[in-house]
């Protein structure tokens, strides 16, 4: 799980007057925004890189380009998320009023993208605070309904990740009780999010994003249950999970979380390396340097005993501790296999 577009920008929640310190900053902003729009229409690395480059050239004093730069940095994944968190935190604290709520939401997204337990806790706090604020609003606007639906969906994901996902391989916990508690809360949040979608004034894009989240969370829950089952039931639940992720991808094309989760089910639950690799490759077309994908591909190649290729992928995931650990383990083996004196040594390419 790694990616999430900034829904609120598209839902029109921003109402305010932006200023730019000069015409060049404005020009770079428009050019960066143009590239970002191209990325959203067809996610690809080139557009994202161009967007980052142009928005990065804007005057740092201009809040709006900084906000969009944070969006782009979030979309870059692990490599950009620290910068995104810095940008959104600054805007949330001292940016223009109209950008503070969107910045808070995107800050939560960025923490989710960083994918550490501590970040999930921060994200959950931020999202619950937003939910309370919207609940306290007497007459929420359509934009606020949309935002609330997105907050609830993301919160459901956080709950699943923190209550279930981090414990999936633990043996000293009552998984049924965990699933009962975490699953129930997540489904409750998703149901509430769906009710928000019935509010008037919401757009198709608002609904698609929340529904994609919903199916993604449901897929994760099936995956969690599948890991606990015996082979036959496991295969059936994995099929349910894949169907859920495919539903999510119907709502959001080439959505990295959907693709990644589905690839992981193929790889870890069903043991289908070929299908998993195809999906991971698809993720890399959208985000070539995605560290989680590289880590997973490293695992895949390691299972195939292609240690050189595995290590080549691991080194592309410097922010994932498991990848670094695997390099430590695999390096001596790789050196032994690659010794020139040993006959029959294999190429790693």
């Amino acid at each position: 799980m790694s990616d999430r577009l900034t829904h609120n920008i598209r839902s029109g929640a921003l109402k305010g007057v932006a200023t730019f310190s000069g015409p060049r900053s404005l020009q770079y902003f428009v050019e960066g925004l143009d590239a970002l729009q191209a990325y959203e229409a067809n996610p690809n690395a080139t557009s994202l890189k161009k967007a980052a480059e142009k928005l990065g050239q804007c005057d740092p004093a201009d809040a709006l380009p900084q906000f969009y730069l944070g969006v782009v940095k979030t979309l870059e994944g692990y490599s950009g998320v620290d910068e995104a968190i810095r940008l959104f935190s600054a805007i949330r604290e001292s940016g223009p009023e109209f950008l503070r709520v969107p910045a808070q939401y995107n800050l939560a997204v960025a923490h989710v993208v960083r994918y550490r337990s501590a970040d999930f806790e921060i994200a959950e706090d931020l999202l619950r605070q937003m939910k309370r604020n919207i609940d306290n609003t007497r007459e929420p606007t359509a934009e606020q309904h949309a935002l609330k639906a997105q907050v609830l969906a993301l919160l459901a994901f956080c709950v699943v990740r923190q209550r279930l996902w981090v414990n999936r391989f633990k043996t000293d916990v009552d998984h049924d009780a965990l699933f009962e508690a975490g699953g129930t809360e997540a489904l409750s949040l998703l149901n509430e999010a769906e009710r928000e979608l019935e509010s008037p004034g919401l757009t198709e894009a608002d609904r698609n994003e929340v529904l994609a989240d919903k199916w993604n969370v449901r897929g994760l829950m099936f995956e969690y249950r599948a890991l606990r089952e015996t082979a036959a039931a496991r295969e059936a639940l994995a099929g349910e999970a894949i169907a859920a992720f495919e539903s999510a991808l119907k709502y959001r094309r080439n959505w990295i979380p959907g693709l990644s989760n589905m690839a992981r089910v193929y790889q870890d639950v069903l043991g289908s390396g070929v299908k998993a690799e195809a999906l991971w490759r698809r993720v890399l077309t959208v985000r070539p340097d995605d560290e989680y994908t590289n880590y997973r591909l490293g695992r895949l190649y390691e299972e195939r005993n292609d240690l050189a290729t595995a290590c080549a992928h691991y080194v592309k995931a410097p922010n994932i501790p498991e990848a670094s650990a695997r390099i430590e383990v695999l390096s001596p083996q790789l050196e032994w296999w690659q010794r020139p004196s040993r006959p029959g040594s294999r190429s790693s390419s």
């Binding site: 920008i9 305010g16 007057v17 200023t19 730019f20 000069g22 060049r24 404005l26 143009d34 109209f98």
Partner: protein, 574 residues
């Protein structure tokens, strides 16, 4: 001279004791006066303008001639104790701002009268008919009073006076006159006016009464074959009037107003007894200065009345007719005078001055006097601020002549200018090529394309409010293209004015008030320099140079994009 000595005798016959008492209370004293009336100096309008001017001039001349005749009389040894003017200067027709000037003119004429006392009373043309107000007349008299020098000027309707032991009274006939088509006068007001006279008649003190309109039949107005009375008294007022007439102290009534008696009737005593047994004060009607020529008469009856009244009751009356040549053909140069006055009214003062100057050569003294007055007046007017800053300017005169059209056109132009001025989007003019091969047209196309792309990108953001107040905010309009110019060129001419040229000029002027981007281009497509100025009417709001001094050279597209964002930022995000 017509004399009315028998009146005193009659009175003796009827009431001998009274006359004895009247005669015995004092030594016989004599008052001689000249009565002039109905000058109609200012109310000659109504017909053709030139006729009105001529009549005004004629009436002025009659007044001046009368004064000359009165003075000649005085110079010949006749003692004139006072001169009385019994109404109808025509003050009610004067414009508000002309009262003082005209009063001063009449005052100067009266100052020439060789009599220390001048008495006046208003006529029906001196007070506003609708309201009966005499404010204008009072102001007029104040103006005369200021110009007559040391002479005493008395309004008899306000203040009776005594001359040589004879009380001289005035009756304001405004409330007594018959109104045609209007509401009848109120009985109370009639009674008030007559009672005022009645109270002024002192027992044993000889008195004469002056009024404007006499209580006689109007020869000009006959209904059912009978002449209608000029007065229309209520029964109560009629009785009160009879009572006034019956006062033995009242020696006579003198009036004016009647223009069409014919010479034989003016100066003749008119019996006002209406069949009563008791004799009453007779009436004399003085001829007007502004005369109508009676039907069949060779000359109009124009002149003044001279009368001598004694405290013993004798009244003698003589009419002095003015020479008929005064009313013959207009004197020479009169037409110049007419022209001068017409020019003066239209504030064409140079022409008026020239015409007055020509009229100064007239052999007629009155024309010369009027011309001299007018000449001086026009010279004074030409030194006034109104002439210097308003009337002397041909456009201002034109605007005055066509005020409604000018106002409408001005409002229309102001509206168009305001519309142009407040339009937010700039208009792009034809770019200037600073070097012969500069790709100016291509630069404009790229500039517009860059603006269009920016708007497209910003419009795609659903949170549009944060980046643009609306698409129009960064719209730039092209200058009218050639087809429009062709269309304007082919518009027909109307009245010699080429409509196409007029409209094109108007559009250029309006465009000048609008926000506009003026571009100058130099260099080539690979190394281009662009200069832009954003004008708003007379102001330069911003100016740019791309590439900026010190920047690396830019190609055409990069320079156009930069200029586009210069403009967008200036207009929207600064």
């Amino acid at each position: 001279m017509a004399s009315l000595m028998p009146r005193g005798v009659c009175r003796l016959a009827v009431a001998a004791l009274s006359v004895v008492c009247l005669a015995s209370v004092s030594h016989a004293q004599v008052a001689t006066f000249a009565q002039i009336t109905d000058a109609h100096l200012f109310d000659t309008a109504g017909g053709p303008a030139e006729q009105a001017d001529y009549d005004a001039l004629k009436h002025h001349a009659a007044l001046l001639d009368t004064i000359v005749a009165i003075n000649r009389l005085a110079a010949s040894g006749t003692r004139l104790d006072f001169v009385v003017f019994t109404g109808d200067f025509g003050v009610a027709s004067l414009a508000e701002d002309a009262i003082d000037v005209r009063a001063a003119e009449i005052g100067r004429a009266f100052r020439a009268v060789l009599s220390q006392q001048i008495l006046v009373l208003p006529g029906d043309r001196d007070v506003a008919d609708a309201t009966g107000t005499r404010e204008m007349f009072d102001r007029f008299l104040a103006g005369i009073r200021g110009a007559v020098g040391g002479r005493q000027l008395v309004d008899l309707t306000l203040m009776p006076t005594t001359v040589n032991g004879i009380d001289v009274l005035g009756l304001d006939s405004a409330t007594l006159v018959r109104r045609v088509g209007g509401r009848p006068r109120s009985a109370a007001s009639q009674l008030n006016a007559i009672a005022r006279v009645r109270r002024s008649i002192r027992q044993g003190q000889a008195a004469i009464l002056f009024t404007h309109i006499p209580p006689v039949q109007d020869p000009a107005d006959t209904r059912n074959g009978q002449a209608a009375s000029l007065w229309d008294l209520s029964p109560e007022a009629s009785a009160a009037w009879d009572d006034v007439l019956a006062q033995r102290e009242l020696l006579g009534v003198f009036a004016g107003h009647v223009h069409n008696f014919g010479r034989d009737k003016y100066g003749q005593a008119i019996d006002l007894s209406r069949g009563t047994v008791r004799p009453v004060a007779p009436l004399w009607v003085a001829p007007p200065l502004a005369g109508l020529q009676a039907a069949g008469a060779a000359v109009p009856a124009i002149g003044f009345l001279q009368s001598t009244v004694t405290t013993t009751g004798s009244v003698s009356v003589k009419i002095h007719w003015l020479p008929s040549d005064t009313f013959a053909e207009p004197p020479d140069s009169t037409s110049e005078l007419f022209k001068a006055r017409a020019y003066e009214r239209a504030w064409e003062l140079e022409k008026a001055e020239s015409a007055y100057e020509k009229a100064l050569a007239s052999k007629d003294a009155a024309v010369r006097a009027a011309a001299e007055s007018g000449f001086g007046r026009t010279r004074d007017q030409q030194r006034s601020w109104r002439w210097t800053f308003v009337e002397n300017l041909a456009p201002v005169r034109l605007v005055k002549q066509h005020a409604t059209l000018a106002f409408t056109a001005t409002m229309l132009c102001l509206g168009l200018i305001g519309f142009s001025y407040w339009r937010p989007s700039p208009v792009l003019g034809t770019p200037v090529k600073l070097t012969s091969d500069a790709p100016a047209e291509l630069f404009v196309e790229e500039l517009l394309a860059a603006i269009d792309q920016a708007r497209h990108v910003l419009d795609k953001e659903r949170g549009l409010d944060i980046v643009s107040a609306g698409p129009n905010a960064i719209v730039i309009a092209r200058a009218p293209a050639d087809p429009l110019s062709d269309l304007l060129d082919n518009l027909p001419s109307v009245g010699g004015v080429k409509l196409g040229g007029f409209v094109a000029s108007l559009m250029k002027y309006l465009r000048w008030f609008r926000r506009r981007l003026d571009l100058s281009i130099a260099g080539s497509a690979t190394d281009l320099r662009a200069f832009g100025q954003l004008h708003h009417a007379w102001k330069v709001e911003a100016q740019w140079r791309e590439p900026a001094v010190g920047d690396a050279p830019l190609d055409l597209i990069a320079a156009a994009r930069r200029m586009a964002y210069d403009l967008i930022w200036e207009r929207r995000y600064r």
